[in-house]
């Protein structure tokens, strides 16, 4: 059972309070009608599903209710960082450094 830091509550809490919400930084096209079927497929379904540092979304469902982003190593399941929704992708290199 994971421990997750909620960037809004600024507390590290058990996974049970949170709900996973899929890969992060997959923005819904601004004008969906103008994107190709392939692009829409990518938005709906295609995922990097990386083995290693993974950008993903969680929701503090039984807490502040906020959706937020995280980088988690999908091999060790360790969180490298979590950050508020809308914030830019953190730089991986610096994160993996910090882990060492």
């Amino acid at each position: 059972m994971l421990l997750i830091h909620c960037p809004y509550c600024n507390e590290t809490l058990p996974e049970v309070e949170f709900a996973y919400a899929g890969e992060a930084h997959i923005a819904r096209p601004v004008n969906p009608s103008e994107v190709s079927d392939a692009d829409w497929e990518a938005f709906l379904f295609l995922r990097d599903n990386v083995k290693g540092p993974h950008y993903e979304r969680w929701r503090h469902l039984h807490g502040c209710g906020r959706f937020f982003n995280a980088v988690r190593d999908t091999v060790s399941d360790k969180f490298l960082t979590t950050y508020e929704a809308g914030a830019p992708r953190p730089d991986l290199a610096s994160l993996t450094e910090r882990l060492k």
Partner: protein
């Protein structure tokens, strides 16, 4: 007292006799005995039969690693469990136990014929045969194999006990209360940290309990232990005994299983049988000690043959001599001390047989002093004795050559193949192991968790080393937690450290093909099985394990993994690490299902949500159905009524006069803010801008894939305020989906969502007399077509209660939904109920609601749609705001397959012969075609208890909207039914009845 109970030895209380039964015979043991120690005290070694060959077996160990002595344990009705370790189960007055896997009796078991045919039942034999004739596998071979396997029998009754669980947070969790664990606990506790110390046995102490001769800080081990335990408690350490650390999860969460009542003669009230603890620890110290390895030789499984360390434990901890004429066979010093202890306790040790050419002079001196014959560079090649060992054959080994053997009479064989660190929990953390050649074992290396490992579990032998290491590791975790601890030193005397060599099979003079030298006792895996697996191409230990089942018994390889690895790697001519170690999988020892289920049994398996009106429904004889977490009134049968009768009556009453329905479970969401209307426009397929305040509209929600997700009536209570309703099951899903879009896609929108599902109790009134009933009770609005037309909503008071009144109809009749603050729901319902008597008001449930809406062609999301249906498929294109630039699902709806011809579309179906179609029945165009038939749709809803005078159905049919009037066919098992495709509205298509 029996000849095997040694007075003055052990920690059991012989002044408190305890009687229990084994296979119906009554035995007496002492308070503190386990079933195994008590039976051994009575001279009983034979306690079970093995898995495959049904060989007679006795305990080989004294702890939870025991593979042989598995018994059934019973405490009256409903309280029976199979495969309990006799070496762990404490005895209490009245405990009933029985042996397993034998027929007719433990002493004479016909299953033992397998043993005679052991040459056939070699590793993997079943992969190579039982294939002819094909049909025989199910009928003959498999039943035979299954019957022969399986050990104990299943419980047959519901479990009357209750189980508990709790969460705990601490600074330091220490697993194992042996010397290293105790020392680590002190080091952390003195720094004021919150420390939890757990041990699977009934008391703390670990090896100290078996080694009373040791002196610590000048005190005898047991005196020191008693004082230390008290001191730790005084320092606030939580010491949990009979508590097994079963598994190590992410980020230092360790699962513990605490046994609370299995050792008690009478069950205390309100006390669970077992409690599961979810412990989150800042730092974890693993101090699980080491397990002794058996020696692998022909007949090493005969009752009376056991681990030397265990014999020592039986003597020193339980005051039991496992034999009066034991022979010791060993490759490690530790067994010599076992020999000395047993000799000092009055046993006549027949010989110490050591495979090594030389040992410490000190050991030889002590042996001589006790008159114990010593045979160095000797091997054991056989034992004999039917149900108990009576002889052992030992042979000299010179330059690798095994000389001729001599037999020694004995009543027990104490063996030691050295020790293996307990690395189970460490490897749960995905920690890496490193092979150590000197100790011929794996040692812990790195782990991703905040965890250290101390004492024997990292290969340090002896009490002094364990204490020193425990204190050291304790200081390490104290430092890791940001404190600095002083070093503690322990003065230890009379310690027994030792060395040894690790063997594969012992050298033998008999044909290896004929040797029954057991590696995995319970699963009857022998050394030759392992070599056969390698011969057949199994090169990884995982393959060898799976092919032979070595290490897959209920001891999970505690006895067999390392011996198996040594033999397999020898057969492969590789070093052990190249062959690999099978991963230790949780739990550490088998753990009761009930402990995991905890409180979630019976009516509390899952929460049952009830509305404020549920109680009234129950009092009025409602039948209920589970819908999501809710239970809903399904129908209200009167005495003698079938479900159909009741629903027919409810439908008729509603159409003819007045029906009342509890709609409180519908999801409700309050959408408030300046951008509320924009948000609604983006979320729902419908346009909302033009919806006036005080009006409501049916809303359709899609996913971005274009398929229908949910629906509901939505009222505009104010310019910036919507009262959204969702399906009962969809409430949470829809709110989460809305929050997701709002927070991550459209954070710019100034709007907020609040769940009001349980704020409102919702009562639906339907029928020609609905307005008549309601009008006199309503203040604030005239219930006329002009003042309050269909699809209006208003805040007013009903029967004096503040209400949100909706004029909507899910039945085709004049309909109202009255929302009042939930606590007033029951009062509102009863007021309407009383006032409605003049109209013969009839309560109806979900089934009638389904029938009436079907007659009007209203869909139920999830029944008439299934996640592959678009608004257009459902014939609700009218609900799609095509002019809107975007909404959730708009782009998805434009995908090639969603605009393609021949999609399945919702239509009405009327059977030609007037029979009722079955929901889920499949539809074909050509009934004559052979199987597999081309199916073109299915019946989604079907009823014959409604008011249309004939059965009606809704169905999804390929290209259905262009096939109105066509005949399709529904092939049933007994016949094929023809049906005409119609529109979806079967009743009052002009909606004339909606008019007041």
């Amino acid at each position: 007292m029996s000849q095997y109970r040694v007075s003055g030895r052990g920690r059991v209380d012989t002044s408190r006799p305890v009687s229990f039964t084994f296979d119906g015979k009554t035995f007496t043991g002492a308070q503190g005995d386990t079933v195994a120690s008590a039976l051994l005290a009575n001279g009983v070694h034979l306690m079970g039969r093995s898995f495959k060959y049904h060989r007679p077996r006795g305990p080989v160990a004294a702890g939870s690693e025991e593979p042989n002595a598995l018994i059934g344990t019973r405490r009256g009705a409903g309280r029976f469990e199979p495969n309990t370790r006799a070496t762990v189960q404490e005895i209490w007055d009245g405990l009933q136990t029985n042996s397993q896997n034998k027929y007719p009796s433990l002493k004479f078991d016909v299953g033992a014929v397998n043993d005679a045919a052991y040459m056939l039942f070699s590793a993997g034999f079943y992969y190579k045969t039982f294939m002819w004739p094909r049909s025989f596998w199910d009928k003959v071979y498999e039943p035979f194999i299954r019957g022969a396997a399986g050990l104990g029998v299943s419980p047959t009754e519901e479990d009357p006990d209750h189980y508990a669980s709790r969460n705990m947070h601490c600074d330091v969790l220490i697993v194992g209360a042996g010397p290293s664990g105790l020392a680590a606990a002190r080091a952390a506790a003195v720094e004021g940290l919150k420390v939890v110390l757990v041990d699977e046995s009934p008391e703390a102490g670990g090896t100290l309990l078996s080694e009373p001769q040791v002196k610590i800080d000048g005190k005898p081990a047991w005196d020191w232990l008693a004082a230390e335990v008290e001191a730790l408690k005084a320092l606030g350490v939580k010491i949990m005994t009979r508590t097994t650390a079963i598994a190590y999860y992410h980020q230092n969460m360790v699962g513990l299983c605490e046994k609370l009542t299995d050792h008690l003669a009478t069950l205390p009230a309100d006390t669970p049988r077992e409690r599961l603890w979810r412990v989150r620890a800042g730092q974890v110290v693993l101090a699980q000690g080491a397990l002794e390895k058996p020696l692998v030789f022909h007949g090493n499984d005969r009752p009376g043959v056991m681990l030397a360390g265990s014999a020592q434990t039986y003597l020193n901890r339980y005051g039991v001599l496992v034999g009066t004429r034991p022979v010791v066979v060993t490759s490690h010093d530790s067994a010599w001390y076992a020999a000395f202890d047993l000799a000092d306790a009055g046993a006549k040790v027949q010989a110490i047989v050591d495979i090594r050419e030389g040992v410490h002079e000190a050991l030889l001196t002590e042996a001589r002093a006790r008159g114990i014959p010593v045979k160095l560079s000797h091997t054991a090649t056989a034992t004999s004795g039917r149900l108990r060992v009576s002889k052992i054959r030992v042979n000299p080994v010179r330059g690798g050559q095994v000389g001729s053997g001599t037999e020694i009479d004995c009543d027990a064989v104490l063996m030691s193949g050295g020790w293996t660190p307990s690395l189970h929990l460490f490897s749960h953390t995905k920690g890496s192991l490193a092979w150590n050649d000197d100790l011929t074992t794996f040692l812990p290396e790195k782990t991703p968790e905040d965890c250290v490992i101390a004492g024997a579990s990292r290969g340090l032998w002896g009490v002094e080393a364990a204490l020193r290491d425990g204190a050291e590791k304790g200081r390490e975790v104290v430092a890791a937690l940001g404190k600095s601890g002083a070093s503690v030193a322990y003065a230890v005397a009379d310690d027994r450290t030792g060395t040894g060599v690790s063997m594969k099979e012992l050298p033998t003079d008999r044909s290896p093909g004929k040797a029954k030298a057991f590696v995995d006792y319970q699963n009857d895996v022998t050394a030759k099985d392992l070599r056969l697996a390698v011969r057949e191409g199994m090169r990884s230990i995982e393959h060898v394990k799976r092919y032979t089942t070595n290490g897959m018994a209920t001891d999970q390889g505690k006895m067999s993994n390392i011996n198996g690895l040594n033999i397999a790697s020898d057969a492969l001519g590789k070093k052990q690490p190249q062959v690999g170690l099978t991963t230790f999988r949780p739990p550490y020892t088998p753990t009761t299902f009930g402990a995991f289920a905890g409180y979630h049994r019976g009516s509390h398996f899952e929460v049952t949500r009830k509305t404020r009106i549920d109680e009234w429904a129950a009092q009025h004889g409602a039948a209920f159905e589970p819908v999501g977490q809710w239970r809903r009134a399904w129908y209200f049968p009167k005495a003698g009524e079938s479900m159909d009768d009741a629903v027919r009556r409810e439908c008729a009453a509603t159409r003819e006069s007045l029906g009342i329905f509890d709609a409180s479970t519908l999801g409700k969401i309050e959408v408030v803010g300046p951008d509320a209307v924009e948000f609604m426009n983006r979320m729902y397929t419908n346009p909302w801008t033009k919806l006036g305040v005080g009006r409501c509209r049916y809303g359709l929600l899609c996913g971005d894939d274009g398929f229908i997700r949910d629906d509901g009536v939505i009222g505009r209570m104010g310019q910036d305020r919507f009262h959204v309703t969702t399906t009962t099951g969809g409430a949470a899903r829809v709110l989460n989906m809305m929050e997701d879009y709002l927070q991550t896609e459209w954070p710019d929108l100034n709007v907020w969502l609040t769940s009001t599902t349980e704020q409102w109790a919702t009562v639906a009134l339907n029928g020609p007399n609905a307005a008549k009933l309601l009008a006199p009770l309503v203040e604030g609005v005239e219930l006329t077509e002009e003042a309050f037309p269909h699809m209006s909503c208003v805040e007013c008071t009903v029967a004096g209660m503040p209400a949100r009144l909706f004029r909507v109809s899910f039945t085709g009749e004049i309909g109202f939904e009255v929302n009042v603050p939930a606590p007033m729901g029951r009062q509102l319902w009863e007021t309407l109920w009383d006032a409605g008597q003049q109209y013969g008001i009839t309560p109806y449930g979900t089934e009638t609601m389904h029938v009436l809406r079907a007659e009007k062609g209203y869909i139920i999301v999830g029944q008439d749609t299934d996640g592959t249906v678009t608004p257009f498929d459902a014939g609700m294109g009218w609900a799609v705001g095509k002019a809107k630039p975007d909404f959730v699902g708009k782009r998805g709806l434009a995908r090639p397959d969603l605009v393609a011809k021949g999609r399945k579309q919702l239509v009405g179906l009327l059977s030609e012969d007037g029979s009722k179609l079955e929901e889920g029945a499949q539809i074909v165009f050509d009934p004559k075609q052979p199987i597999p038939m081309k199916m073109v749709g299915h019946v989604t809803s079907s009823y014959d208890v409604g008011t249309t005078g004939r059965p009606i159905a809704l169905a999804l049919v390929e290209g259905g909207h262009d096939r109105l009037g066509e005949i399709v066919h529904i092939p049933m098992p007994d016949r094929t039914i023809a049906a005409k495709i119609t529109g979806t509205v079967f009743f009052d298509p002009e909606n004339a009845r909606l008019k007041i």
